[in-house]
């Protein structure tokens, strides 16, 4: 096993936590049953790494097989790292009949035309997602397997999810994607997060949405002791209304776990008592960032408990509506400052 393979394996072992290591190795299928049995998972990581190095040398495994292991781990644990969503624009007529084989061939050939020395691995997951692993090289150097880019795409949808990509690599990837999916352009969807599943569910509308119906949703089971029956009686209808509006804005049930929302303001300062600020020529720049372990859940709770006023302001409800969590807000001429999310340049 050469140095690069050794370094890759060491890096992999650092990345993969011990509990998931066993299942990953089983799925990988490169170890014989004896070798699998010989791995003592109660030992320290360092010891395990040494043992695995030994096994790989025995089986004469190289970088190629190790990248398989890495891919297995990433596919099973997609909620790590920072994922960015992109949207393909203006499909050609044959975009909806692109099948897997065609996509694979086209993507590989287009990317190889653009980049010498690139290592591409493509795998179809059971939920119809196509996973792509790219190790980038250039004319003078071999592909760097220590910093691969991962891409996830569902055929016949316009969304692509990417992690670990540099600004130099982005246009090359964009070109290959656009050509192989038979669309005309690709743009930043202004949605990012640590959990691939969350941003995917948000864009693919895979979470429960609530719509106005004849019958409002029942309030959640409340096991708390009711302190005052009168207050409860008075507040019941108002609480039900707030809950309905909160759920219509953000969704019902489990919500996709976004971690942050960023609003970049370039508006005019409005406070008549502060002349210095209002008389400035340049726009007032300000960044408002909301963070939470589950941002949409927090917003929904704010609205349903009355902390945020209902109906929910479009500034917040457009996060799930438009499927983005980065907004640029500018003034639109005279009058009250309007909100228009513009794509990041």
């Amino acid at each position: 096993m050469d140095d690069s393979a050794k370094r890759l394996l060491q890096r992999l072992m650092r990345r993969i936590p011990t509990p998931t290591l066993r299942s990953a190795l089983e799925k990988w299928g490169r170890l014989t049953t004896e070798q699998q049995k010989s791995m003592d998972f109660t030992q320290s990581k360092w010891a395990l790494t040494e043992r695995l190095l030994g096994i790989c040398e025995e089986n004469e495994l190289a970088v190629k097989q190790l990248t398989d292991l890495e891919m297995i781990h990433v596919i099973d644990n997609p909620d790590q790292g920072m994922w960015y969503a992109f949207q393909l624009m203006d499909p050609e007529d044959d975009a909806k009949s692109v099948d897997l084989t065609q996509f694979k061939e086209q993507f590989k050939s287009h990317l190889r035309e653009l980049v010498r020395n690139v290592s591409i691995k493509m795998k179809k997951h059971t939920d119809e997602a196509v996973w792509i692993r790219i190790a980038w090289g250039d004319t003078f150097s071999r592909p760097n397997h220590l910093k691969p880019t991962y891409i996830v795409h569902y055929l016949q949808t316009p969304y692509v999810f990417v992690t670990s990509i540099t600004s130099k690599q982005k246009p090359l990837l964009s070109q290959a994607l656009v050509l192989s999916t038979r669309y005309q352009a690709i743009k930043d969807a202004n949605l990012s997060g640590r959990k691939l599943t969350a941003i995917r569910d948000l864009l693919m509308k895979k979470y429960q949405q609530v719509f106005p119906t004849k019958y409002p949703i029942p309030p959640p089971e409340n096991n708390q002791t009711i302190s005052n029956q009168h207050i409860e009686k008075e507040q019941a209808e108002l609480a039900a209304n707030r809950l309905q509006m909160a759920c219509e804005a953000f969704g019902g049930g489990m919500l996709p776990q976004l971690q942050s929302a960023v609003y970049k303001l370039e508006t005019k300062f409005r406070d008549h008592s502060n002349k210095t600020m209002t008389e400035r020529e340049e726009p007032f720049r300000c960044v408002v960032k909301f963070t939470s372990t589950n941002l949409l859940e927090s917003f929904r709770h704010c609205a349903s408990s009355g902390i945020a006023s209902t109906p929910v302001t479009p500034l917040l409800s457009c996060i799930p509506l438009k499927g983005r969590n980065y907004f640029l807000i500018t003034d639109n001429g005279p009058g009250p400052s309007s909100q228009r999310g513009q794509p990041q340049v």
Binding site: L100, Q156, M204, K205, Q209, L321
Partner: protein, 327 residues
């Protein structure tokens, strides 16, 4: 007192009809009389007298209408009966309207049916109630037709609607998809939970939704129901036919590649089902591939081919496995 010309009756149902001539004579006499009065002063009395004589002669030469008075009387009778009929109809209509108002109120309030104060006897009131119910159901049916059978709810104080499109396959209700649509100032979809591989934006552009929302909803329902059907079929294939391996499919369920195993010879056959028409849940093309090149051309497999084109795939597989053609 000038004789008034009788009102004209354009209805074809009355037995008597007016002779236009009679009317005109009355009218023209009136007219000529006033004319003559003017002319007489200018042209002299004698000429006036001679003109009157001419008129009298022309009147005499007119044949008397046979039984003119009788005909008129008959017409009067007919008109009277018609008037009574119309009066009765108006009264019934008023009663039905009153009943409908209370019935509609009952429907929205879901109260117990109460006896409204009807002065008629019980038979009449029952009949009226039935007639009112009939008009109510007709209106409901008409409204249902207008919205195309989709569930529609008013939102935003009448400025928007929320339409629900239900999907079902083989008698089982599946997902319901919703569209929140602004109606004012223009018809525009503001929110929906239709998945991104259904071409909703294209359908909206191609539709006439500003004037007729059904030009959007009907094609959308077609797409969604066909998708739901295909999705169910794929699900059943995976669940019920474990011996058949699913090699490829996609989120839109427009492509399915299966691997069959032929018993005895244990040859593998790759079956590709293309569903390029997204408004249908049956394939547009079925293709077999095998190492044994003659196999797809054999009559047995040709029948399988046409069978799979016409039968939902999960059902077709049941038959194919029963007849022992595949494992």
């Amino acid at each position: 007192m000038t004789p008034q010309p009788p009102k004209s009756n354009t209805s074809a149902t009355t037995s008597g009809c007016f002779h236009p001539k009679q009317r005109n004579v009355h009218y023209s006499t009136q007219h000529k009389y006033s004319q003559n009065m003017e002319v007489a002063t200018t042209k002299g009395v004698l000429s006036h007298l001679s003109r009157l004589e001419v008129q009298k002669r022309s009147l005499k030469s007119q044949p008397q209408q046979p039984g003119g008075v009788k005909a008129l009387r008959a017409t009067v009778e007919a008109l009277l009966t018609q008037r009574d009929q119309l009066r009765a109809e108006i009264q019934t209509h008023k009663n039905i309207k009153k009943l409908r108002v209370s019935m509609d109120k009952q429907c929205t309030n879901e109260e117990e049916e109460t006896e409204e104060g009807m002065d008629e006897d019980s038979e009449n009131s029952n009949l009226l109630r039935l007639m009112a119910r009939h008009t109510q159901l007709k209106d409901l049916l008409h409204a249902h037709n207008v919205v195309g059978g989709y569930n529609v709810v008013k939102t935003r104080q009448g400025k928007g609607v929320c339409v629900s499109v239900a999907t079902f396959y083989e008698g089982v209700y599946l997902n319901t998809y919703n569209l929140e649509i602004d109606v004012k100032p223009t018809v525009r979809i503001s929110r929906h939970n239709v998945p991104p591989f259904i071409p909703l934006n294209n359908l909206a552009e191609q539709s006439n939704m500003q004037t007729d929302l059904r030009t959007l909803l009907d094609p959308l329902s077609q797409h969604l129901n066909a998708f739901a059907g295909r999705q169910q079929q794929f699900k059943f294939v995976k669940e019920l036919h474990k011996s058949v391996e699913v090699m490829e499919s996609n989120v839109l369920c427009s492509l399915l590649v299966l691997k069959f195993t032929v018993p005895r010879e244990k040859t593998a056959v790759l079956c590709s089902l293309d569903y390029t028409d997204c408004t249908r849940s049956l394939p547009t093309r079925v293709h077999f591939e095998s190492d044994d090149e003659e196999l797809p051309e054999s009559p047995v497999w040709k029948t399988h081919c046409s069978f799979l084109m016409e039968t939902p795939v999960h059902k077709a597989l049941i038959t194919m496995r029963k007849t022992g053609n595949i494992v």
